[in-house]
């Protein structure tokens, strides 16, 4: 009646991984990687979020529907960001007649 019961050592392991990744993201921030800084930071954040979702939130053992829902939510956020940025990024590519 409770869903999947995970062993507590798994939770401690995930916690440890999250702490390491946090230290990593702070450390990398102090190194100059140019444009890469942002991508590395976001990749680490996504990795941390994935660990929380899969293990703390039990999605690993929750069937197919929840991951699909989650993917849809993320996809829709990407749509909002991408199409909005497509406006800002392409301003000035083509000028209107008379300008």
């Amino acid at each position: 009646m409770s869903g999947h019961v995970a062993p507590t050592r798994l939770y401690y392991a995930i916690f440890g991984a999250l702490m390491i990744l946090t230290a990593l993201t702070v450390a990398v921030a102090y190194k100059d990687l140019g444009l890469l800084n942002t991508y590395v930071a976001m990749t680490i954040a996504v990795a941390k979020a994935t660990l929380v979702v899969l293990y703390f939130m039990h999605v690993r053992w929750s069937g197919r529907l929840i991951p699909i829902l989650l993917a849809a939510g993320v996809l829709w956020l990407v749509i909002l960001l991408a199409l909005t940025m497509s406006d800002y990024a392409s301003r000035g590519w083509m000028t209107a007649p008379g300008s």
Binding site: L83, D87, Y88, W93, A96
Partner: protein, 542 residues
């Protein structure tokens, strides 16, 4: 057709299972909550109609002589807000969806009955906030409350109205959440996805939009409030903010919102066209998938509201192409409904009259949408009455026709009474005539260049405006007639049998009105939806 033989220990039907105001205000029965919503949205519809009356009265004469410009701005703003947020978005899902979805899937209730009741209270509280704002001086920003006028310059009750809409947005989210969970988890044994009525598919697609779109409107409202109260500057050019960013965020929700409005109505039409042709819907899976396609593609087109706002031409091109694409699934539905009629045994009861009205008017509205999707043409007619006519053809000619058709069709199920048929047909006709007289001239006005949201206009536009106002009065009468006879029928209407239309669907296999827990015995589904071909010789009851 199943007839119920009521034995001595019949369960009470839901209307009489519990008396007194507490049993209604604290109900968790989805059917009673639907009735609560019916009352609330009708009040908001009347409010929106009242503001429309002021708008059309002013527009009888070219001069701005009935009210000041600032007052007129408040009238069209509040007409839009009341109609969009408090009527068009909730009406079909919260009234018909709430009532019918558990019945149609053979469940005892929605997945979360208390959340259902909460959604109604949230709706009422939001409505009261906005009502207060309207009474205490009104709001004049347009229902689209573009920045920086709404954040920095308007002296009207922007924040209270925005708070009201924010709150009501959660009603929408909770409804969508409930429907989605219900349709996934509460279907009767044997009821696979592709045996579901198309009404359910339509509401599932609508729920997707409610879940994914409404939160963005909510946060946008928060940002507008922060800008207005705290002067944060997020949309203020002086602080480096971009008003067009507001438009991106606003329309990311508000375009899909129009699909929240139309999809449930399309679901109604699928049920009605099948019942009154006594034939299954042609191309069932195409119609089902088209609902999902509308929900998905509908999120990709919002920039078509911003063609003249300073959006980049390249982005506008992309949004234009996608806007053409979104018309395709809607067209698929219209073709499939028409094909359903072909070789059907068609009859012309009131709900079917609304079906014909819907198909014709929605087609016109939809086709004019294609005009607007073309960049070059939109630049010419943007912010004119062409736009106003386009969306009213969809919202009124589409959504409201579907709503009224559904209300009539399921009235016997909801109340146990028949509405008076000849009055029903008469008012459908009056509404159709009044509607077209109101809004067709507006296409012409817009094309000729009359701007929207103006309280005065050049003399040469007066004849068309007078026609439009005349049409509006006929339309108003057309709406009043059903209000009267529906209420009358609850006491004096002919008692309805379980299935007065001889229609297929689980809701027709239980009492009219249904017992509190919907079915005396939990149903098991063995046939496809709209299985009219299985028992072709059955006569209609009632």
């Amino acid at each position: 057709m199943t007839t119920h033989v009521h034995a001595g220990s019949t369960p009470k039907h839901y209307l009489i299972d519990g008396y007194g105001i507490r049993s209604w205000l604290l109900t968790t029965d989805h059917k009673r909550i639907a009735i609560l919503y019916l009352a609330s949205v009708t009040v908001m519809f009347a409010l929106g109609g009242l503001f429309a009356i002021f708008v059309r009265l002013e527009l009888l004469t070219p001069a701005g002589d009935l009210m000041q410009a600032e007052t007129y701005n408040k009238m069209f703003t509040m007409h839009g807000i009341a109609m969009v947020f408090f009527f068009l978005i909730p009406a079909v899902p919260a009234v018909l969806g709430n009532f019918l979805i558990p019945l149609m899937i053979g469940a005892k209730d929605l997945a979360f009955p208390r959340i259902n009741l909460l959604s109604w209270y949230v709706f009422v509280v939001g409505g009261l906030f906005s009502l207060y704002a309207m009474i205490a001086g009104g709001i004049d920003t347009g229902w689209t409350f573009y920045t920086p006028y709404s954040t920095a310059w308007s002296n009207t009750n922007v924040v209270p109205t925005a708070v009201g809409i924010f709150i009501t947005g959660f009603s929408s989210i909770l409804t969508g959440l409930n429907f989605m969970a219900t349709i996934h988890k509460m279907r009767a044994p044997g009821l696979t996805w592709f045996r579901l009525p198309l009404f359910v598919w339509a509401h599932y697609a609508t729920s997707i939009i409610m879940i994914l779109g409404t939160p963005v409107l909510a946060i946008t409202i928060v940002l507008v409030a922060l800008d207005r109260i705290g002067k944060f500057g997020i949309f203020d050019p002086a602080a480096g903010g971009d008003p067009v960013l507001f438009q991106h965020l606003f329309w990311f929700y508000s375009h899909p919102a129009v699909y929240i409005m139309i999809l449930p109505s399309m679901g109604v039409i699928s049920e009605l066209v099948s019942a009154f042709s006594r034939k299954r819907v042609f191309g069932y899976s195409f119609v089902a998938f088209s609902s999902l396609a509308i929900a998905l593609i509908g999120f990709l087109v919002w920039g078509h509201h911003m063609f003249v706002s300073g959006q980049s031409v390249y982005a506008s091109l992309v949004f234009s192409v996608l806007s053409f694409l979104v018309a395709i699934p809607s067209a698929v539905k219209v073709f499939n409904w028409t094909a359903t009629l072909h070789k059907g045994r068609i009859s012309f009861e009131t709900p079917m009259l609304y079906v014909f009205g819907f198909i014709g008017l929605f087609t016109i509205g939809g086709l004019t949408g294609l005009f607007l999707a073309s960049l070059g043409l939109d630049v010419h007619v943007h912010d004119t009455y062409f736009i106003v006519a386009h969306f009213h053809y969809i919202m009124v000619g589409g959504v409201i026709m579907g709503y009224l058709g559904g209300l009539h069709f399921w009235w016997p199920k909801m109340t146990g009474r028949m509405y008076p048929e000849w009055w029903g047909r008469l008012s459908a006709l009056v509404i159709f005539i009044g509607f077209n007289l109101t809004f067709f001239p507006q296409f012409v006005l817009g094309y000729l260049g009359m701007p929207r949201r103006y309280h005065a206009y050049p003399e040469e536009f007066q004849v068309l405006n007078v026609m439009s106002t005349a049409g509006a009065s006929i339309l108003g009468v057309g709406y009043l007639i059903p209000l009267v006879y529906m209420i009358w029928s609850m006491r004096y209407g002919k008692v309805a049998p379980d299935n007065p239309w001889g229609a297929k669907g689980l809701e027709w296999e239980t009492g009219s009105p249904p017992p509190t827990h919907n079915f005396e015995k939990p149903p098991e589904v063995v046939s496809e939806a709209y299985a009219y071909h299985e028992h072709p010789a059955e006569a209609r009851h009632g």
